[in-house]
Subunit: 101 residues, 2 copies
Amino acid sequence: MSAASQINIVAIVTVPGDSLGEATKAFQTCVLASRREPACLFYDFGQDMGDPERFVASEAWRDEAGLKAHEASPHFQALLKTLEAMKAKVEIMRLASLVPA
Amino acid sequence: MSAASQINIVAIVTVPGDSLGEATKAFQTCVLASRREPACLFYDFGQDMGDPERFVASEAWRDEAGLKAHEASPHFQALLKTLEAMKAKVEIMRLASLVPA
């Protein structure tokens, strides 16, 4: 897979029950800022309808460099800090798109 | 959450090692057809870079009716049949978007 290939990210975040409001705001802030990044093809967080403590990020990045820029961005770093402070559990899957945009 | 709200889907599909080629083609066919659906905001499959037998769908649908139309579509039904025949394992998460398009 070349560095020029589209990368999708799915991240499953499990948030403690008493931090749902704070987590939701933090996710929304990160979504809005991430969508403004030039390499961003798609970015959203959704709350699992079957488990309100589970939130899932769906992301698509034009290439590896774009994803790296996102990971270094202040808004993503701020989200990581918030999630760490509330002891959320994070599982990240890096995916090679089968049908790049 | 109103029926008019955007729904994201993340589906994690685990495919037997001897069916990766067939599964990839089936996913790609479904992606191309799904992207033509009017209610489709985003649709892609990606292969997990850490586990080649794991494929993850990232989808965003304008509303419940749009998702239902997709689930009834010939291309989605054909994918389900293919995955069933190869005994793939499918986990589907239905997510309420935190920042609808």
